[in-house]
Amino acid sequence: MTDPARRTLLLGVAAVAVLAATGVPAGAADPIRLGASLSVTGRFSDAAKYLQEGYQLWADEVNQRGGIGGQPVQVITYDDESKPDSGRILAERLIDRDGVTVLLGPYSSPITDAIATAAERAQVPVIGTIASDSSIWERRKLRWTFQAFPTSDYDHEGFLRLLGEKGKAIKKVAIVYEEAPFSIRAKDWALAKAKEMGLTVEAYGYNPGAQDFRSIVERIVAFGAEAVAMGGYYQPSVALTRQMIERGYNPQAYFFIQAADGVTREALGQQTEGILGRSAWEPTLETPAARAFADAYRAKFGRLPSYHSATAYAAGQVAEAAMKAKGTDRAAIRDYIATTAIPTVMGTFKVNAKGQQEGYHYIATQWQGDTARIVGEGSANAVIWPKPAWK
């Protein structure tokens, strides 16, 4: 069996075990239940594991501290196979059969949206973890659902700020986006911002699932862009990068949103040097809360946490603060989350009247040697500028 296969199987077994087991001390009082629909299998399966670990670490720590109001907490999770329809059924199961007080987020915006439909009807608060697409709070009024992830609108914020500081000579910027809501919103924000900065910008859309970016590379070359920002999913970003390398096209600055992920090294090898990215959270973040979380996580799971785990842990912290203040009254918890600024490992959680995240922003990163370092605002690390040519 391959490694990923074994991992998936173990994860599956773990998911079942969690049903009964997450951090509940034997003989303790009835636990407060929280629930999450996770994509243990399917498209998003890799991320689910990190979310699960974040939730687990949070629950264990709370229970070690004696629970909330004397009650232990328990996070129940099921596998939604990366499908919104399954997520909706599981939300019903969690609300109805397991009687959860709060729903913690799944992976991806469409599944969060599906769960929101069930939760809004049943009036159960949802703390949406990995849902960067803030349009789901705009298409309709969501009273019970909150965004606990930086909104994708600001995907290009750090990149454009660096461009303003370092790239005085750069006049033409190309933005590549996916025909998906989160990416379109990010593109719109960046277009407006870049124009405001006096830059000439062109944006190129591609079809989700595209693998061939050669024609887009030709358009970028023909436009004569000096800087390129890619705002799509991870896989197309890698494909675009490779095809830029093949074409021998060297922008002075190159950014793609998920570049900070360690997999980038595996996919692009030595070519990563100088590539900019953005991250919701990094274990190298120099805040006490981040350091404490990273240490605890490493002690438990033997490696550094990803931003998924940090987001999950932060969602737990939000729920914890609300339940400490309001007990298990769902309506009171909802009002508390909607109106209170809550400190978490991600920064200060704060939502606007629509439920969109305003407190967290992204941090800028850059590949320097073997690691993606935090650069730009609030970081002492120097930026490599311009980006070295492809090797």
């Binding site: 399966s45 093949e246 595996e266 070519q271």
Partner: protein, 290 residues
């Protein structure tokens, strides 16, 4: 549009066309000999891609060795699946054949998703750098893909058109009963055709992993385009399929540049529907309309 740009887009279209040609050739071979529409073809592409990925990341080998590995693996698996599953349904109604290969596709997809997870896999090893011909830049990886496709395509054509076994395949495509009565080993010929087609698909997968990334569904897009090629070119005509493959490669390349890749796909599908309307008898290479 400058001449350089024109040739650049043409070159880009060639790479896609070459891969499509290999995929379509396999589909045409299976349909021609067995009258089976192989919906599972995409999974064999995915198989070759993952095999190459494992070869590179687990053994540290060059991805170029993934091509013979995929050929061998695909040939063996194709042989087994033909013997174990496909042979049971070739005499059955069309619905059964469609559902069999469709079910195989679902099983394969499920297995890849369970085995490798949903995220993409990729590696950075392999040929790097590019060839610059008067401003037209083609990467060595892409050139490797194109050349391999041409070699494999030519070899398959030679096998079918010239070799002794090819005669059996062509006879089968004409008339199964007559072929059998002429002393052609129908079972062996069918097994050979399926196994060769799967080997081609898996090799295409190895090449796809070289220029792209690998996911459990990586083969689907290619096989869907492969079906378009086969329908436009006519299953009866191998030359037609090759022309259609490169034609679609060019449409994709130029339309993506001039509009975007979504429009390119819309144009390709509309062309397909137009072809169904205009020349129904040419489609799938046999006249069935009463």
């Amino acid at each position: 549009m400058s001449l350089t740009l024109f040739f650049q887009l043409l070159a880009n279209g060639l790479v896609v066309g070459g891969l499509l040609g290999i995929v379509a050739l396999g589909l045409a071979l299976i349909f021609g000999v067995m009258r089976v529409v192989n919906f599972a073809h995409g999974e064999f592409i995915t198989l070759g891609a993952y095999a190459t990925y494992l070869l590179v990341t687990q053994l540290g080998a060059s991805p170029l060795f993934g091509i013979p590995l995929a050929l061998a693996l695909g040939g063996a698996i194709g042989w087994l699946i033909q013997a174990g599953v496909i042979a049971r349904v070739t005499e059955r109604p069309e619905l059964d054949m469609l559902m069999t290969t469709y079910a195989l596709s679902v099983v394969g997809l499920g297995a890849f998703a369970a085995g490798f997870g949903g995220d993409f896999r990729s590696y950075s090893a392999g040929p790097s750098g590019s060839l610059d011909l008067a401003g037209v830049v083609v990467g060595w990886r892409s050139l490797t893909v194109l050349l391999t496709c041409l070699v494999m395509g030519a070899a398959t054509l030679l096998l079918v058109q010239r070799a002794r076994v090819g005669l059996g395949l062509r006879a089968l495509a004409q008339n199964r009963d007559a072929a059998a009565s002429c002393g052609i080993n129908v079972i062996a010929s069918e097994r050979l055709a399926f196994s060769a087609a799967v080997a081609l698909a898996a090799a295409a997968g190895a090449l796809v992993s070289l220029i792209g990334t690998t996911t459990p569904t990586v083969g689907h897009g290619w096989v869907l385009d492969g079906f378009v090629v086969v329908m436009l070119g006519g299953l009866g005509s191998v030359a037609g399929a090759l022309v259609a493959a490169f034609g679609i490669g060019f449409v994709q390349s130029f339309a993506s540049y001039l509009l975007d890749d979504s429009w390119a796909r819309i144009i390709i599908y509309l062309l397909l529907y137009a072809a169904i309307l205009v020349r129904p008898h040419g489609l799938l290479g046999r006249q069935e309309h009463a």
